[in-house]
């Protein structure tokens, strides 16, 4: 009897050791990845990288950095009104049946592999509409990829606005729009912003849908919406590592490093947002 209990305890311990080692293993992989990117990245970063453009397989990354910023910024501009607007409509105005349809379409968007989005825009805009590789085509691709993340975060955030708060506002005689702007919107803002930042993180790191929409350029991007290809950081990582030149490898590592930093920052801000939101929710209840 005693031996069986001891055996069970031993088995339990063994399994937990396995579980804990899987966590340690995962963290080690992460460490290998971070170590790899940071060690090689830091060694490859030179100040000129930020001020010179790519020349063939050497030079700097200024065009790619500005290009990534431009593409993502325009994508945010495109996705915010659509994603958040749709979520507001679904949570505040929509009849039940249509609510389900919109949510379903967002679920579908979640399932679309990013390369399919890129291919769709390539055929439709770059070729058929004759826009060529361009800022708008690239940003649209990113916006479509960000859309489900932004929408779902906003949907959750607006759904979580406490009913009693809204009802109290209405009972005090506030018009629906005032209630929305003064009560629901501030309440849902942090959650929505967090979702947006997650989307931004994903957009910054996308490659496949940009190859055939934004193209690539060695020069500083212009603000021309069409007919002017745009460079971006992920392209450098994916193509320059395949070149047999040391300078191009350096640029690939530097670009990977900058991407990681960008992801760190958006992740950190997003997490801080979640914490802030959670603390506010707690103080309300």
């Amino acid at each position: 009897m005693v031996s069986r209990v001891t055996r069970n305890v031993a088995i339990s311990r063994l399994w937990w050791v396995l579980c804990i080692s899987s966590l340690v293993g995962a963290l080690l992989v992460l460490l290998s990845l971070f170590g790899f990117v940071f060690v090689r990245g830091v060694a490859a970063i030179r100040p000129e990288i930020f001020f010179t453009v790519t020349q063939g397989i050497a030079g700097g990354l200024a065009n790619a950095i500005v290009g990534t910023l431009l593409l993502v910024t325009l994508a945010i501009v495109l996705v915010v009104p659509v994603g958040i607007g749709a979520a507001v409509w679904v949570t505040q105005f929509a009849p039940d049946r249509l609510r389900i349809v919109v949510r379903l379409s967002i679920d579908v968007l979640f399932g679309v592999p990013s390369i399919v989005v890129g291919y769709f825009l390539y055929v439709a805009l770059v070729e058929t509409a004759g826009w060529g590789f361009s800022l708008v085509a690239g940003s649209l691709a990113l916006a479509i990829i960000m859309l489900p993340y932004v929408y779902r975060a906003a949907d959750l955030a607006f759904s979580a606005v406490p009913r009693d708060l809204v009802e109290a506002s209405v009972a005090l005689g506030a018009r629906p729009l005032t209630t929305f702007v003064r009560v629901a919107f501030p309440w849902a803002l942090p959650g929505t912003l967090t979702g947006l930042l997650i989307g931004v993180g994903i957009a910054v790191g996308e490659t496949a849908p940009l190859i055939y929409t934004a193209g690539w350029s060695n020069y500083m991007p212009t603000l021309a919406p069409t007919h002017s290809p745009v460079g971006y950081l992920t392209y450098v990582v994916w193509t320059f590592i395949n070149e047999p030149f040391k300078q191009s490898h350096q640029l690939a590592y530097a670009a990977a490093f900058l991407l990681m930093i960008a992801i760190f920052v958006t992740n950190f801000v997003a997490r801080a947002g979640v914490e802030y939101w959670a603390s506010r929710t707690r103080s309300h209840s």
């Binding site: 063939g56 500005v66 070729e127 193209g215 060695n218 500083m220 603000l223 290809p229 395949n242 047999p244």
Partner: protein, 350 residues
Amino acid sequence: MRKFTAVALAAVFALGSLAAARAATPILETGSSLLYPLMNLWVASYQAKNHTVQITTQSTGSGTGISQAIAGVAQIGASDAYMGDPQMRGHRMLNIPLAISAQQINYNIPGLNNVHLHLSGPVLAGIYMGRIKYWNDPQIKALNRPYAGRLPHRTIIPIHRTDGSGDTFIFSQYLSFTTPMWSHGPGYGTSISWPSVSTAVGANGNPGMVQACKATPYSIAYIGVSFINETNKAGLGYGLLKNRAGRFVAPTASTIGSAAAAMYPKTPRDERISLVFAPGANSYPIINYEYAIVNPHQKNAETREALVKFLSWVLDHNGGQEMHFLNAVHFLPLPASIAKLSREQVAQIH
């Protein structure tokens, strides 16, 4: 947060508009990774004197070069292959030779990379069809008697291009012209249907081929001659190829020149011709024209002007055809007769 976003936005647009303010005519050159190193030398030198044009160069593969030039996305599609008749029927494009190039067959056999193995079309076809599986296969031994004992019993890993590629085009032409079984099977093209070989690996562009061959012991690859410095640095061996006269020759200026000289008189006005497996005792069998695929009809006047000016400079013996450009990548310049045909084609751009 909002303030930060505003500042970031302002900065981005300030930078963007800065760039827009000095906007010059953009020209996109994309395609052949074999031509890419030379294109970079040309563009850097040309841009130093011409500020009204911005030429972006991209190493994507000849297939991309051809298709993006057709789609009007790129102004110059760089290609090691001329366009086929079916393609020309759909889209009348100019195929303008800019230089003469060649291809080496590289391998990574630890211990044997300083040796130049003798290779023939049928043996290479056998390797890429999976019929010759090991480096010590009797057929390879038969061509390399002095090293027969040193050839290892190791599986050959044939590396091919995954992107549409002019190097695939000229390599598969060499196999097709020398090996009936290949010409009836995969045939030739910028992307062909590779036979099933269990160890075969795909790589992207000439740079990817160098990387893959270097990283993979016992592999074999076909790589453009403009990457000779890189293949040497990577410590890869290169083979001597059997030519039409039955001799085994290395890719040198003299053997490439000999093969090219045999083909100049046969070049038609539209310059679409294969230079592969040329006659001549001293001729290297895998050489080709490096083409600029250009749409003769350019809607935008500024683009047309900039394009014609750049191409004319490239074809000028005091411009892009100067030896120091071509020597750097082991290419040969066009002879006067072919440069003239090319200039006539440039004149057709309207």
